[in-house]
Symmetry: C2
Subunit: 248 residues, 2 copies
């Protein structure tokens, strides 16, 4: 199975990494819209317009399915993308919520914290889906500074810790943190540590689990080559991919 | 004189504010390309393409001159904009460097620090122009985190101070800091304080001084109305303008 992966920029590489390491796919094609990143602070209409341009690209790219490796796009544009794509399109919301249901030691009384960009949190989509399942202790918080902090590779240290305090200090301690932005897996460990070992849900791992449960995907490939394309500066995207330990 | 002001997003509002308060202009027309902000991390080719679309817009907008209220655009696209515009186009680099020459207590032995986005610093344009004037102690540093910090309105506090330490701790103390990004005037005071009262150069004030010296601009208007337009979410731009104390 040859999978397309779409993101607004580099964040989706954390999803690509999970998929590449799984051995379930013959080939990956990643496309990042780096010329117009970030999407997280843009209008739903604008994001949908850009996402449909990506669909046009993938419609001509000979993939078997398309993964939307971006929470913002999954929230606002998934249905439209599915309508205009000639292949199945999968977003990260449903997988993230599915994994929540499968975590050990988490029941409906668990305290769930969703963190994401302003647009993802503002949409209320994660909160709505999680509450529909019967979880009543759900906090949701936009944490936009984590994106540039990750892009500056400040995965530890005082800036990150002060930003944790700024965002988290008024919150009750969660049992599980749903990382609703594909940049955040790179700071999953310090977030978990800040909250005394809270579990974290990672869009890439959630997507992999979801695909395995919904498609016939034996782990049969010793290597999964990935092609990386971008609307600008593809070399910068490849450098990030290397730093984030994808196998180029 | 009716002036057009172009920026990639909201940062240029600090320039618009200086121009609005001066009483030198009959009217201002601000356009922010919010659908594609930020430009600071994008390729020169991409930024130039976007800037020329803005020129097309202003060519039809009946302004007497166009101010580029964005350092990134001024560095990479000013000449092309001047070629395709039907009115004069002014960038912020020349004014900033001119003001450096006019500061009290600053001579050629002064230590000058330029801070800006990665693309502005990477171009070397400010450094080249300042060194050409005979300044030998010039440091230049990309400080990209200041942009989201300002957009999150963290104008003071621990995150800002830790970010100062992160960027500045290895630097010799400057006598003057050239703020090479239109977001940075909002943290000019804490930057100056961090460096024991170093002077700061602000693109908006520099542009105003430059225009006054090069054009016939009596301070004749009690009020200068400003029209704000954007490629998306103009209401968000207007909210920022109000918070930054423009007179809408």
């Amino acid at each position: 199975m040859k999978l397309g992966i779409f993101d607004s920029g580099v964040g989706g590489l954390t999803v690509a990494r999970s998929l590449q390491r799984s051995g379930c796919f013959s080939e990956l094609l990643y496309y990042g819209d780096t010329a117009r990143v970030p999407y997280g602070s843009k209008d739903a209409n604008t994001v949908t317009r850009y996402a449909l341009e990506a669909v046009e690209f993938f419609n001509g790219a000979n993939v078997d399915a398309l993964v939307v490796a971006c929470n913002t796009v999954s929230v606002v544009a998934l249905e439209q993308m599915q309508r205009f794509s000639n292949k199945p399109v999968y977003g990260v919301l449903e997988p993230g919520v599915m994994v929540l249901e499968q975590l050990p030691e988490i029941d409906k009384s668990a305290r769930v914290l969703v963190i994401a960009t302003r647009s993802t949190i503002g949409s209320g989509e994660y909160q709505r889906r999680i509450q529909q399942l019967g979880y009543n202790n759900v906090d949701a918080l936009p944490t936009p500074l984590f994106v540039p902090i990750v892009e500056e590779e400040l995965y530890e240290g005082a800036i990150l810790q002060e930003t944790f305090k700024h965002y988290f200090k008024a919150l009750p301690k969660p049992d599980v943190v749903l990382l609703g932005c594909t940049h955040f897996p790179l700071i999953a460990e310090p977030i978990s540590t800040y909250f005394d070992g809270a579990q974290t849900i990672h869009s890439g791992e959630a997507m992999l689990q979801w695909l395995k449960q919904h498609l016939d995907l034996p782990e049969q490939y010793a290597q999964t080559p990935i092609t990386i394309l971008a609307s600008e500066n593809v070399e910068a995207v490849k450098r990030v991919a290397t730093r984030w330990q994808l196998n180029l």
